[in-house]
């Protein structure tokens, strides 16, 4: 269903472009190349959908812009940078791996490493402690007799 709509949207986009003659001559741009860029862009009118996946009119128009810019000779990075310039890094589905946003990429792994380290330390300590602990002393006859006596007192 969604795929059908997507296909139809794409078809419409292609038809519209052809009709408008909007694609400048020069570089031929494949659907995959457009998709590659669009997949990293957040659809501005949807929640949690990329421009490549959204069947909305806006996403459709944004794909057309991506196609146009690629056809004009821009690299995928330049096209992405254009959208970032207009919308901020918000437009990217994955935050950039630099500056403050780098934290998002690094912190989970750091936390994992820290947790593993602590777990290993703790396990080592437990093993050392159980090895060091003296075997429980055997219960002598006098103590056993006393336990029995006191249990009997409790019962009565």
């Amino acid at each position: 269903m969604t795929r059908l709509r997507l296909a139809r949207a794409l078809l419409l986009a292609v038809a519209a472009l052809a009709a408008l003659g909007a694609a400048p001559p020069g570089r031929a741009v494949t659907e995959d190349q457009v998709r590659e860029v669009a997949a990293n862009l957040r659809c501005v009118v949807c929640q949690s959908l990329s421009v490549a996946d959204s069947p909305s009119e806006t996403a459709n128009q944004m794909r057309a812009i991506v196609r146009e810019r690629l056809a004009a000779g821009e690299t995928p990075e330049q096209v992405t940078a254009y959208f970032v310039e207009k919308y901020g890094t918000w437009i990217l589905l994955a935050p950039p791996r630099r500056g403050f946003d780098l934290l998002v990429w690094v912190v989970p792994f750091m936390a994992l490493a820290l947790g593993l380290g602590l777990a290993i330390l703790a396990m080592r300590r437990w093993r050392r402690r159980s090895a060091a602990a003296a075997p429980p002393a055997a219960v002598d006859d006098a103590t056993r007799a006393r336990i029995r006596r006191e249990m009997a007192e409790l019962d009565s």
Binding site: V44, V45, E57, T58, Q61, A64, K86, W90, L118, A122
Partner: protein, 176 residues
């Protein structure tokens, strides 16, 4: 864990709490704009009346650019009278309102404009290029552009008389 390291456990939870406290306060729908203070992207459209509508030709005036659509209910319907009123009030004081109709059908857009008796220039942004140039997320969105052509303010959602008046007066008060 040695006894003197015990305090590390609650301490480790602290950054997480801070992060959560910050995260739950931010609005996932908040829409940042990177364009404030930057030159407004030039555009040349053809108005519904058939006249060319270029931002460049309005340099020296305070420009209010409003993105709208006839299907945007109720916000666009709420602010339409506000915009028309502002245009009538300020057109002779160096302010121009520009309506940009996006993702709409021409017929529906024309009906909307006649319903609210729009007299300020309006044009359709077929293809949505101008909307992307302005980092528009949805309708309505309003941009206040100063005499030097820089975007100074951006309002998402319906604007009120007070909001428009305050923003326009602020920009008018500036020396060009």
């Amino acid at each position: 864990m040695t006894r003197h390291l015990r305090w590390l456990i609650p301490l480790a939870v602290l950054p997480l709490l801070v992060l959560l406290a910050y995260g739950f306060r931010t609005d996932p729908r908040a829409l940042p704009s990177t364009l404030l203070g930057k030159p407004a992207a030039p555009f040349t459209l053809t108005s519904f009346a058939g006249a060319p509508l270029a931002l460049e030709s309005l340099r020296g005036r305070v420009v209010v650019v409003n993105f709208w659509a006839s299907w945007c209910i109720p916000a666009c319907y709420e602010e339409a009278p506000v915009l028309e009123k502002a245009w009538r009030e300020y057109r002779d004081r160096g302010v121009t309102l520009v309506g940009i109709n996006i993702q709409d059908k021409e017929e529906a857009a024309r009906k909307f404009m006649s319903q609210f008796e729009f007299t300020f220039p309006n044009a359709a942004d077929t293809g949505g290029r101008v909307a992307v140039e302005y980092g528009v997320y949805g309708v309505p969105e309003t941009f206040f552009i100063d005499r030097a052509g820089r975007i100074r303010e951006r309002k998402v959602g319906a604007v009120s008389d007070e909001v428009v008046r305050a923003a326009v007066e602020r920009l008018l008060a500036e020396k060009s």
